[in-house]
């Protein structure tokens, strides 16, 4: 199987994601330049973290006008697997592939730290190798990670089990304390209705090697690989 990592101007977790997919998981991985119109036959598209267009205007707001977005949108409509991490998640929101928006973190500061998330739904291509209720120790690094949706949207999200990760305490309880950025319902990761597009604020690529403090994030890539390979 083949991963494609999109490079927007200002992406800065592109190399990290590439490194983990190619060198840790030993999968064929390629960069996808935002000005091209070619997904190079990838099975999974990753929108990496960073500051596309400097996060000017709003995070993710300008990247959605990149040429490659057209192919990405079509890929999503055809059921292709897309993972948006951090800034990638923000792009997916701005694009409308996932509902809602990101507001500034509640303390109005950039936050970089390890946090814990609880897996809410293990029936997804992104979490099928995990168990619901499992806790992951994983880093976040963002300024705008305070998830917001209208009350109607929120009802839909819950009804359709679209919430995939929630910020939790290390023991798994969903508390206000654990909700570092102020997200509604402690939402840390969400997917679309068709379950093929996931956005998440935490960085699984930063938690894929034990040397760096946690390898808990691997389960997400393992799930995707398992899903795609089982489909082939």
């Amino acid at each position: 199987m083949k991963f494609g990592v999109v490079v927007f101007p200002g992406s800065n977790c592109d190399y990290d994601t590439f490194h983990v997919l190619r060198d840790v998981f030993d999968k064929e991985t390629t960069f996808l330049w935002h000005k091209d119109h070619d997904l190079k036959n990838c099975d999974c598209i990753v929108l990496p973290g960073g500051f596309s267009y400097g996060d000017y205007l709003r995070s993710g707001a300008i990247a959605r006008f990149s040429p490659l977005i057209q192919e990405i949108t079509e890929f999503a409509q055809k059921g292709g697997i897309i993972l948006g991490i951090c800034n990638g998640f923000q792009v997916l929101l701005e694009l409308g592939l996932i509902p809602g928006v990101m507001l500034r973190n509640k303390n109005l500061k950039f936050l970089c730290q390890h946090i814990h998330i609880r897996i809410e739904n293990d029936q997804t291509p992104f979490t099928r190798s995990s168990k619901a209720g499992q806790i992951l120790k994983i880093p976040i690094a963002h300024f705008d990670g305070n998830y917001y949706a209208t009350p109607e949207t929120l009802v839909e999200l819950k009804k359709n089990d679209q919430i995939v990760f929630r910020y939790s305490d290390p023991d798994g309880s969903i508390s206000e304390m654990a909700n570092v950025n102020g997200s509604m319902e402690n939402i840390a990761g969400l997917m679309n209705l068709d379950r093929n597009v996931l956005g998440m604020m935490p960085h699984p690529e930063r938690a894929s090697e034990a040397l760096l403090g946690s390898a808990d994030g691997k389960i997400i890539f393992e799930s995707i690989i398992d899903y795609i390979e089982s489909r082939k």
Binding site: P9, G10, N12, D16, D23, G54, A141, L211
Partner: protein, 736 residues
């Protein structure tokens, strides 16, 4: 007409002006005068510091590039090199904290990637007035967000640094930024303008009127006219710089360019004349071709502008098209504005006329060098006679008070705002004495740290200089890293005052002596003078940035306690040294007397031992004793343990209890070992002639310290931790 007033405005003396006329054989034009004013400023010419910086050792087997280039370079094996440098951005950060600090980060990043290295880590050393003051807090807030705003956007992790608070910085905050990059030996680039006829390209943001006379501003005291000097602040564009970084590395990787230089202080003037000077060539440029943001800019303004995110690049006529295509791909301008000439002259045309025509050598290498007067400050002997206050009644209270000093307390409020993990190399996160970065695919890892103690330097600059080097190396030794190279930023007051010059000379000589003792070369640095406002200077503040190497990243030692029952050992001997300590300042507001002294040979032995024991996997944790003394050192190891582990320690030395707990005697490290390794470690220490004392064990849920049989400090871990952890956030919430 060039008169006294105009010269003064340009920071040039009459003698300097006459020298210029002699050198260029004519009266300089207005633009030429501006050029000399910048390049002969203290900031660019190092005219007051040069003769003293020569005392620093600059050679060593690992040195690829010593001082003189944008950054120093050391060999780290496998054909790889570490490129690093520190830079000050003090004056701009005071005037506009956010943008001043942000553009400081932008500047140091350019210094690194202009050499062909990909920046992999940033650090910063910050000094502010006391946190209790709301104006100081707003400066801190701005500076920290500015550093975060720029560094995070660039995708370069800010992995460490230091922050101190002291009255002397209230009107002169210090913002020193350090950057480290990695390059392959055969892909290192220099600021060269070789090959007559080669095109000279202007890359990046358009030129505006920002920052004109920035370097001159950094070369004068702030006085009553502060307001007037203000407009010299630029707004940074980290997004543009990220594009510049990627595009520059791409053209360098493809071997398409001859030379490149960032436009930092003194902008187009500095980059063009230095590149020519380095290559024994000349440069001719046409200002009409320079991309401009504002209308009606004069040649003077274009040449002196310090607009950010710009580079000057020399390509060849064969490669220039491909170079321009690569920059276009990254949405950047790359405009040919001139070419390399023979004849060693800088020639600048504008509107069809020649506005500058001077030998580059006169601009770059002919500034007078001063051996300024120095005199030991008279007040030093007075403040050296100190009566030590009586020891405290309640050691728990004293301990908690020391832990809550902002200088000691947890700095998470700061580093949580920095992305310190991007690039996924950060093995030890901020908060430890030194940061550790793996090199992907290699066993080897790089360790880095910034250090400097201005209180020691104020009381005894020579010793303070030595200790700054020793302490930085000690931080590295604790994790098992050998130091490889040094960069330093020397922040001082007005060098025209003999007392300041004395502090400077003493400090430099102290640093030089220590670097020689540790056999580590200085590969570069920065000097920031004139850190005074209305006549009040900062305490002398050298900041040392030291880069080291660990051969096997899996053997690196972290500072947190590891297992219940591990044995705590003290390396080194404690003397009764209380003057200049955080403890005396916290409890008694005293900053007097002779600070801790240092024996460099003994220090080196302790460090070598620690490195050897780490390589042999004999130690479980190590932490050096510095500010706050032994008690704080133990507390830090308790706080950085994965799960809270307390400790029980008993000290037997017959000196004052407060000196024993809070004294800052140098050359001491606390290590823990698993019981089965104890004998081997004691044995090794014996062989290496290292003073080593078994002082306790990792145990329980308290920090429990006795002097002899007498329990003195007995504090639950949670209480100590919360005191230390919440001290800074608490101050920021106070509404005053």
């Amino acid at each position: 007409m060039i008169d006294k007033k105009l010269l003064e405005k340009h920071g040039l003396t009459f003698e300097e002006y006459n020298r210029i006329v002699d050198l260029i054989g004519k009266e300089p034009s207005y633009t030429e005068l501006g050029i000399f004013s910048l390049m002969w400023s203290e900031h660019c010419s190092y005219k007051s510091s040069k003769i003293h910086l020569k005392k620093l050792p600059v050679t060593g087997e690992n040195v690829i590039q010593g001082p003189g280039e944008n950054a120093g370079i050391i060999d780290i094996g496998d054909g790889m090199a570490a490129v690093f440098k520190i830079e000050s951005h003090n004056h701009p950060s005071f005037i506009e904290p956010y943008q001043g600090a942000a553009t400081g980060v932008g500047g140091i990043l350019r210094d690194i990637f202009t050499m062909g290295a990909r920046p992999i880590a940033l650090m910063n050393s910050l000094r502010f007035g006391p946190l209790s003051n709301s104006h100081n807090r707003s400066i801190i807030d701005g500076v920290v967000s500015g550093i975060a705003g720029y560094g995070n956007c660039m995708g370069v992790p800010t992995v460490g640094g230091e922050i101190y608070f002291h009255d002397s910085y209230a009107l002169n905050p210090l913002v020193n930024v350090f950057c480290l990059g990695i390059a392959e030996h055969d892909k290192i680039f220099y600021a060269k303008a070789e090959g007559t006829g080669n095109p000279v390209l202007y890359i990046g943001s358009k030129t505006g009127r920002d920052g004109i006379h920035g370097a001159t501003m950094a070369s004068a005291e702030f006085g009553e006219d502060l307001e007037e000097k203000r407009p010299n602040v630029q707004v940074g564009d980290p997004f543009k710089e990220k594009l510049l970084l990627e595009a520059c590395l791409e053209v360098m990787n493809k071997g398409l360019i001859v030379g490149i230089q960032d436009m930092g202080a003194a902008g187009l003037t500095c980059s063009s004349s230095e590149m020519a000077s380095n290559s024994g060539t000349g440069i001719e440029i046409n200002l009409d071709l320079v991309p401009q943001r504002e209308e009606g800019m004069t040649p003077y303004e274009i040449m002196l502008s310090e607009s950010q995110e710009r580079m000057l690049l020399v390509a060849t006529n064969k490669t220039v098209k491909e170079v321009q295509e690569i920059f276009a791909k990254w949405d950047l301008e790359a405009v040919i504005i001139g070419h390399v000439t023979d004849g060693n002259k800088l020639k600048v045309k504008a509107g069809g006329e020649i506005v500058v025509d001077v030998p580059v050598d006169a601009i770059v290498n002919s500034c007078p060098v001063y051996n300024r007067q120095s005199k030991k400050p008279a007040c030093l002997s007075r403040i050296r006679n100190i009566n030590l206050p009586a020891p405290p009644e309640d050691y728990n209270k004293a301990f908690l008070l020391v832990l809550s000093q902002p200088t000691i307390a947890n700095k998470e409020w700061v580093y949580r705002q920095y992305d310190h993990m991007v690039q996924i190399n950060t093995v030890f996160l901020p908060g430890a004495g030194a940061s550790l970065l793996r090199l992907k695919g290699k066993n080897r890892a790089l360790a880095l740290t910034l250090d400097g103690n201005a209180v020691y330097c104020y009381l005894d600059p020579r010793t303070g200089g030595k200790i700054a080097v020793a302490e930085a190396c000690r931080n590295l030794a604790c994790i098992g890293a050998r130091p490889l190279g040094v960069t330093n930023c020397l922040n001082f007051g007005n060098p025209e005052k003999p007392e300041i010059m004395w502090q400077f000379i003493e400090t430099v000589e102290g640093i030089a002596e220590a670097c020689k003792a540790f056999s580590i070369p200085v590969t570069g640095g920065n000097v920031s003078f004139y850190n005074e406002t209305e006549g009040a200077p900062i305490s002398p503040t050298p900041v040392l940035g030291i880069v080291g190497i660990v051969d096997d990243v899996h053997k690196a030692v972290s500072q947190g306690f590891k297992n219940e029952g591990d044995i705590i050992l003290l390396l080194g001997k404690t003397k009764e040294e209380l003057n200049g300590t955080v403890y005396l300042r916290a409890l008694h507001g005293k900053e007097e007397g002779i600070p801790p002294q240092i024996d460099l040979a003994a220090e080196k032995k302790v460090q070598d031992f620690c490195i050897e024991a780490a390589a042999k996997k004999l130690i479980a944790s190590a932490n050096d004793i510095s500010e706050g003394g032994l008690a704080v050192c133990l507390a830090e190891s308790v706080f950085s343990a994965e799960a809270f582990l307390g400790c029980e320690v008993s000290l037997k030395d017959s000196i004052r209890t407060d000196a024993l707990f809070f004294g800052e005697t140098q050359s001491r490290i606390i290590v823990t070992v698993e019981p089965e390794n104890l004998d081997t470690v004691l044995d090794l220490a014996g062989k290496r002639d290292i003073p080593i004392t078994r002082i306790g064990k990792v145990n329980g849920q308290k920090i429990f310290i006795r002097h002899g049989e007498k329990p003195c400090i007995e504090v639950p871990v949670a209480l100590a931790y919360n005191t230390w952890k919440n001290a800074i956030p608490k101050i920021f919430q106070i509404k005053s």
